[in-house]
Symmetry: C2
Subunit: 710 residues, 2 copies
Amino acid sequence: MGDGDQGDRPVVSLSPSAEYTPLDPAELDALRDLGRRWPPAGSRRGDLPLDPALGRFSDRPTASRFNRFAQVRLFRAEAPGELAATERAGRPQSRLGRSLAAVRRVAVGPPLTSAAVVQERMRKLVALPILSSDLISSVAYGPEAMLTILVLAGTGALGLSLPIGAALVVLMLSVGISYRQTIAAYPHGAGSYIVASDNLGARYGLAAGVGLLLDYVLTVAVSVASGIAAVTSALPRLAPLTIPMALVVIAVLLAGNLRGVRASGKLFAAPTYGFLVAIGALLVVGLARAAGRGFTPVPAPHESAMAGIGAVLVLRAFASGATSMTGIEAVSNAVPVFHPPEWRQARTTLSWMIGILVTLFAGLVVFAHIEGVAPSAHETVLSQLARRAFPSGPWYYLVQIATAAILLLAANTSFNDFPRVLYFIARDGYAPRGFLRMGDRLAFRNGITTLAVAAALLVIVFRASTQALIPLYAVGVFLAFTLSQAGMVVHWRRHRTGRWRHSLAINAVGAALSGVVLVTAAATKFLSGAWVVVLAVPLMVLLGMRIRRHYDRVGAALSHRQPTEPAGESPERPDQVRHLYVVPVARLDRAALRTLAYVASLNQPAFAVHISPDDEEDERFRSQWQAWGDHLPLEIIVSPYRAIVPPLAHYLAALHSLRPDLTVTVLLPEVVVPPGWQRLLRTETPRRLRRALRDLPGVVVGSVPMHVTP
Amino acid sequence: MGDGDQGDRPVVSLSPSAEYTPLDPAELDALRDLGRRWPPAGSRRGDLPLDPALGRFSDRPTASRFNRFAQVRLFRAEAPGELAATERAGRPQSRLGRSLAAVRRVAVGPPLTSAAVVQERMRKLVALPILSSDLISSVAYGPEAMLTILVLAGTGALGLSLPIGAALVVLMLSVGISYRQTIAAYPHGAGSYIVASDNLGARYGLAAGVGLLLDYVLTVAVSVASGIAAVTSALPRLAPLTIPMALVVIAVLLAGNLRGVRASGKLFAAPTYGFLVAIGALLVVGLARAAGRGFTPVPAPHESAMAGIGAVLVLRAFASGATSMTGIEAVSNAVPVFHPPEWRQARTTLSWMIGILVTLFAGLVVFAHIEGVAPSAHETVLSQLARRAFPSGPWYYLVQIATAAILLLAANTSFNDFPRVLYFIARDGYAPRGFLRMGDRLAFRNGITTLAVAAALLVIVFRASTQALIPLYAVGVFLAFTLSQAGMVVHWRRHRTGRWRHSLAINAVGAALSGVVLVTAAATKFLSGAWVVVLAVPLMVLLGMRIRRHYDRVGAALSHRQPTEPAGESPERPDQVRHLYVVPVARLDRAALRTLAYVASLNQPAFAVHISPDDEEDERFRSQWQAWGDHLPLEIIVSPYRAIVPPLAHYLAALHSLRPDLTVTVLLPEVVVPPGWQRLLRTETPRRLRRALRDLPGVVVGSVPMHVTP
């Protein structure tokens, strides 16, 4: 077990250049071949009228312009043929763009260079709070979710919480041990997506990844809703503001995460350890009081049964309680961030986390049973327990504050994990490549924003109610657990190193138990919401496969290994290109003349086209053309139905179909006014024409601007 | 009086080529000059590799393509250098565009050629219903608007309707006679905008035009609301559907008018004459009954006074009643559509219309007084009168149907007039040139749609209530009357032909009376809604002046008479153009190679630029470039903050500022996939780059597409 057999697997690291797919060796060979068939170089560095490195070859004096030196100074020469852009060169040019950039800068901070992508390594005591907040915070809603189902069968059924809780503890231990093995086998990162893809194939890996992504969205929604519930339990007057408060919290998380993830260790330690202390104190004080009266359970306030006690109800309660386990996969995703030996430190951290989880979970279930607490719509179970343990003094409020704080951190953890999983999926081509892009703060802007928008939608649709969101939860995460553990079973069968039979058995048990929870959760909560996830997972897997197919086919078409030339496109070697330039002219003004001069200066075959609505205009234009001197051939198309763009597009298509070997370049004269309301007065024709010509093969479209400041 | 002094005024006719501003003689001279300085023609018709008229010069056989002949056949050779596009050539190419075009075709009919713009000439009996529906239909709400104000002072004040009505009749006759003179003086069309512009200057003309435009919007809103009120008076159960019904009617008018205006004569005759017969019968029967009881007025049902009788109330009632005169200007706008002698036929038609208006208006006011009818929220005054005249039988319903029908026609008239006035304003440059554009049905699509949207908004905001809309009415139209009559006073002082003193006196009286109504309406109804119009007119005049200034300055900048060369733009003569081509390359794939081949084939100075997020990618790209053979100079810009578009834009700006005499052409490789969801997966960089480079002078931007069908 260890590092030995990992050489062929991709190292789990994030890089800003992942967006740039490299050419494979076969492609490079084809490219070399192609290059040899090019005619000898036409343009040499010395032939250029200026130095592309922004020095100057030309000794000809040039008109001094106001902003010349400022612009040149935005770049720094690094080596021959290489410039480095300064941070200022990354700012937009337009006034609106600059203002927006300034606002962004205040909100999310100044840009960070690519060199700043250094993985911060963590010790166990620092890693624990960061990685465990998601898992440990789950006890704030998990036990309550279980009790909420049981109370449907009347308060008498609440006693079932003890055996169900015991079963959940067994599940936690089993999944935990299972993950310990995964960490050891995948020291470079043991995320469910990677493990399942690696062993079960892309389709299952994608399913696990989608399950995790949905889970992260739900973690944000549930944690925020639950954190707000901790606040409104203490201050009931805030209850009407639940949804707006939840949306504000998501917006703050969004802004914070767009800033990037630096300095997060210290931030996490206080709330997590605070929560541990608070719940620990609550359990100690509470159980001590209960011991004082001989652990006699207080009967819960009577509520009449709305359903009978049956197997389905018990299974539903079990599945709801299993939401306490969400977040258990955090350590396995993060193995590489530990100090070496990574896998061993990570494994120890995981064991501690499981221990803490089991203690808190079991303690809370037992305490709730002894105190006879029943779930209520107005106050969380944890808040009720805290009120009983600390009937007076500030302690109650401290528990509520710690709960809200750790839930906020848990939501924040998802903001870290969601874009990372999406990055890995996108790197394999199953998600849009935009999710590979690191913003100027080295944060995955697109992934972070997607998560925030999705969570905000969930909060609005489910009115920020934890109980309404719970049925959607657990399905995605247990799907990921099951597939990842099943992947490990396949892994051991393939590799057979060390005590593989023992390891296989442990992972098989983990997979089986997770699978049981998955099926239970999907089946018993199907109608109350799980159907959304059950439907979404296969659809998103399908979409992911379609996206991959798109990238594969585009990649193949753009590959130099492709044997055939695409029909009708501009050719691949300069000596094969035959030009024809076409200039559509609406009015023979200065803008048009500049375009005509541009074209004429190229010494290539060229002519002008004019579209006229009637014969009167036709003749008027022709006489102007002759007055000018008829320097280029002119073709007038009378369009008696007054359409402009479609006839021109059809005409160019007809030209191209007559001579598909020609590369037709359409150059449009374009009058450009400064941004503002006056742009609304300019004609839309160039834009519409560009769009219409976009789909024609072999037609190059450009525009020669003439700038007017009215 | 007559045609004699009209030679220098623009003929009021609509032409699809108005969009194409001709070059004036001085510009033509400058153009001729410029053309002489061009080097001898570079490209001759015979040099082209194919015949632009879509015949073929080249005898080289070409690959046969599926759609070649179909595309070529979309055009018909007319003369050397001239093609005519068929109707099919005007259809969009994309699948979505074709589907939308098919839907439009069903809704508004097939396209019409420009040659179909033939003004239909009308005889008086045909012209009367078409031109009078707006004016005559006003009696359906005018008298009621007057009574609604009077009843505020209690039912006792309703008796004031007789003297106020008499004053209004004097006003109608005076304005009518005034307009008779205008028609004679402006036989080519005597719209307020033209008359006021011509005599008082552009600013006043624009004010008159804006007044008319607002009036047309209100005519649609009021006529539709009033027509629906005629329906709900007869069928009160439909009352809750008032607003949806009004919107449906506006939508039907919109669709009908987008179809164009053909075959309208017959359509108009029946409802207009039907309304005349219906109201005539109502008056005869009603007055006959009243005669039977000796014309003793029936006392109106008592309502307590909400305001005292005072000068303000009387003036408000007068101004409200004056809405009966809206539409009086229709004939003067339409003089050229009459059979010759146009002005004489138009004048006679106007006299008839005034006669009918006065008869109906006076008859209804007297009849309402005798019958003691008070305005009610649930039933129109006209409906109450009809019920008294025809207590049984189908006659009552016929009156209501005729009323609704003529109001619908009146709204339709505005759909004709609004875009026409806007066309004249746009032709003078005070409104966006888009309003000059005739759609494929020869209808002014933009103007028609603007009117429908504005009227629909008014209907929604004012909940389709005629009484709420009335205070906005009348201000705009009396502004137009006043300015047009004042313009005529100036006209007579200038021209002094024939009995000019007599004519001047008549127009002066008309202007004075209209002015009094204008001030009265604006002042007494200011707070109840007229402030909207009082505010909107100057704002829109100001906007119009700003638009004109925009077009003037753009026109001057594009004029060949402009003495100076714009700084940094691509030059105006081919021998002055110095080229530099820059190809931004993200990845050295087939799309990039095609673009590089295109550039290399031009034999102009060229180099490639690559933006790299870090040094690793930088080196990888450089090695690929060398593998290919380093056929063009390469400049790599390391952008450590990962921005792509802004550094590239700044870099090109820096190049341009180093050598402003160069024309820099940026050619982007662009991968194009077919329209659909897959387009969402393509990068936005080319579009963003194009937008960022748009504002740089002297930078030409184009893209070389490579089409992929994934």
